[in-house]
């Protein structure tokens, strides 16, 4: 062991994350004295100004929480309200909600892999530099990202704040000609996604196994995306309405996002948590591929997150193609809804993990109060725990730049969406 030292590392603005955060690390006498992921993205008070809004306005408003995962917010809100109102989606709308959501996974995951995370592992400062040494791989990634956007366009007319979701289904249905064209593109993209998985698997990553609980939505027959119960790797299986009995949010002064804990412990949500819990629902072809590249699940190494995103891109392309097979334009893309007073609760898997909504509605169909728990605030405590463990494993005696880069890699494994995390601030008391 070399000499004990004291250093302070401040990363005032974290680059290549969505939203505004910073990192403070203080090492004293060779030990971590302070470690904080500070989130200073200003609060936007969404849950407050949803109050009094009519249910028909909610999908368009909650989309604005996040430009990267608006579909997750729209579909979760719609699912919660449809459940309360007793609206049964027809099979077309139910399938197309999943296809629409797959588009967002493809777009968000490919953006994160190529533009935000991968440069770290090739000694590059950004994707433009990465494109100089790996031009084909970056272009492939941008094409896949573009295809995700196109899939969202089909149902939402645009991919950032799409306008197609309504309570009861969709406002419109794409023509058969557009779907045929999309099917051809999806079919052509599957081998590209397989190549992406092999490329991601070949990127050397640290061996950094940690003990943590994975939490994700689970479904009896599908790899859960747009519907399901909540499950945890310790065996918990609950309905979305029991969330509050097991998960608690609290406010820490150094963050504008709330911290969530599960039975007083940090926990993981997101692609790796989903694969850990739901890998047996992956199609056979992808399971064979994972066996071939030696990706063993469940995994305790968060550095497998980039690979996990690549696997979910393949899955989302496969699912979209499967569900668009035999597509028919429906008689109506939506069924009518009649509002009802009560509590609407829903949860889905946003690209970054479990997203939970709760709306208390009055009998006129207006919001009395709203609560939204986004994935990044759930991961916040886990990120700090991971940073601490991972730094000790990495070794505190590395030069400052190496320590900083390592911390940034750890943080980016979670693809934190700080814009999301901050926008869900709610009535909260210290417990």
């Amino acid at each position: 062991m070399t000499e004990r030292r004291s250093v302070a590392i401040h990363v005032p603005v974290l680059a290549r994350v969505e939203g505004e955060g910073a990192l403070d690390l203080r090492i004293e006498d060779g030990d971590i004295a302070e470690l904080r992921l500070r989130i200073f993205e200003p609060p936007r008070f969404f849950e407050k100004f949803l109050e009094g809004r009519h249910y028909t306005e909610i999908p368009d408003m909650v989309a604005r929480i996040c430009g990267i995962c608006p579909v997750a917010y729209q579909v979760t809100a719609a699912q919660a309200l449809e459940d309360l109102f007793g609206v049964e989606l027809d099979p077309w709308a139910r399938a197309m909600r999943r296809v629409f959501y797959c588009g967002e996974w493809i777009q968000s995951h490919s953006l994160h892999i190529h533009l935000l995370a991968a440069p770290d592992f090739f000694g590059c400062g950004n994707a433009i530099e990465l494109a100089r040494i790996a031009p084909d791989e970056v272009r492939r990634g941008l094409r896949i990202q573009g295809l995700g956007n196109e899939l969202m366009d089909l149902f939402g007319a645009r991919s950032v704040h799409p306008v197609g979701v309504r309570i009861g289904g969709f406002h419109g249905a794409p023509s058969l000609a557009r779907i045929r064209d999309m099917r051809d593109k999806l079919r052509a993209a599957l081998p590209e996604a397989e190549a992406l998985i092999r490329w991601a698997a070949a990127i050397p990553v640290p061996q950094d196994d940690q003990v943590f609980v994975s939490v994700a939505t689970r479904h009896p027959t599908d790899y859960a995306i747009e519907r399901g119960d909540i499950g945890a790797s310790d065996g918990l299986r609950i309905g979305a309405d029991a969330f509050d009995a097991h998960f608690i949010e609290r406010h820490e002064p150094h963050s504008t996002a709330l911290f969530s804990t599960y039975h007083q412990q940090p926990y993981l949500v997101g692609p790796l948590a989903r694969l850990n819990l739901n890998h047996e629902y992956l199609p056979g072809a992808i399971r064979a591929l994972l066996a071939d590249i030696g990706f063993v699940l469940p995994s305790r190494n968060l550095f497998h997150s980039l690979l996990a995103r690549a696997v979910e891109i393949w899955l989302a392309l496969y699912e979209a193609l499967r569900l668009l097979d035999g597509y028919r334009v429906p008689d109506s893309p939506w069924v009518p809804a009649t509002p009802r007073a009560g509590v609407a609760i829903g949860c889905t898997e946003a690209p970054r993990g479990l997203l939970w909504h709760r709306y208390e509605m009055d009998d006129a169909g207006c919001v009395v109060n709203a609560r939204i728990v986004p994935p990044t605030s759930q991961n916040q405590a886990r990120i700090e725990e991971d940073l601490r463990l991972s730094l000790l494993n990495f070794g505190l005696d590395h030069p400052d730049d190496a320590l900083r880069l390592h911390c940034e890699k750890v943080i980016r494994n979670y693809d934190p969406c700080i814009s999301c995390a901050t926008h869900f601030l709610r009535l909260n008391v210290e417990r």
Partner: protein, 267 residues
């Protein structure tokens, strides 16, 4: 500042973020291969989400996303103005204060106290305001979100040394151009297209639904006539106020329309 290129070589460009959802800067990151082409034609000095971090070097063009909503923002926008040739505000947050401007009608401090157990740790201004409330803005690109083609058009205009063009016409004109049947005339749907700025391509009516005003007010918007028409379609005064008080609630034309209805002076 002249619109001519100040010096030869690649223009230096910065993308800054204030309070927002990141969706407008995403229109750069969603350009696909055009992003790589663009990166060769400009010098991207600062764009935190994409990687480059250098807010202190002077740039030819600064794109600013988001609204001013914290005490620190007040200083940062002055710093950006002082270091930028052209300052272009992109998106509803930067041009009107955004959806978070809805808090301007409420008491922000009370909300902070209700939400956070450590309210003293939260630095938040009472109001969410557009960039033009604080510094001179050379060009505004409205929309929630702005689209990739809109952004590229502005960047290309700059590269060619010409003034970017602005579309202040109404969404209705886009429906006519695209041949979409009017949702209000044919289905009695309360559509905001008559008072909303064009630029999106009439996406909502293309799906048979109402425009909800995410591009902000158009030039010469007749909000009185539209409010009256909404009343005839059966909307309550409260529902009509909500139509104007949504994504661009603090845009002066929409705010005035809502206030007029609130005080009951509309007939």
């Amino acid at each position: 500042m002249s619109l001519q290129t100040a010096h030869p070589g690649k223009p230096r460009v910065a993308v800054h973020k204030f309070s927002s959802c990141d969706g407008c800067q995403l229109s750069f990151l969603n350009l696909g291969e055009a992003l790589l082409t663009l990166a060769e034609r400009i010098d991207l000095v600062h764009f935190a989400e994409a990687g480059p971090l250098d807010p202190d070097t002077g740039v030819d063009v600064a794109f600013v996303e988001g609204s001013v909503s914290t005490p620190e923002d007040l200083e940062r926008i002055q710093h950006i103005r002082a270091h930028s040739g052209l300052l272009i505000a992109i998106g509803a947050c930067a041009t009107s204060g955004g959806i978070q401007g809805l808090r301007n009608q409420a008491k922000g401090a009370e909300w902070v106290a209700q939400i956070y157990s450590h309210p003293e740790a939260i630095a938040s201004l009472e109001r969410s305001t557009p960039i033009s409330s604080h510094v001179k803005v050379d060009f505004e690109l409205w929309g929630c979100p702005v689209s990739g083609p809109q952004m590229l058009a502005v960047v290309n205009a700059r590269l060619l040394g010409v003034a970017p063009r602005d579309n202040v016409d109404k969404v209705c004109t886009e429906c006519k151009r695209q041949g979409y049947p009017c949702v209000m005339v044919t289905h009695g749907i309360a559509c905001m297209g008559q008072v909303t700025r064009a630029g999106c391509g009439a996406l909502c009516p293309s799906l048979g639904r109402d425009c909800y005003g995410c591009y902000g007010p158009a030039e010469n918007a007749n909000t009185d006539a539209l409010a009256m028409q909404f009343g005839h379609l059966g909307l309550t005064p409260e529902a009509i106020v909500r139509r104007f008080q949504s994504i661009n609630s603090q845009a002066p034309v929409f705010l005035a329309a809502a206030n007029k209805l609130r005080t009951g002076s509309h007939d």
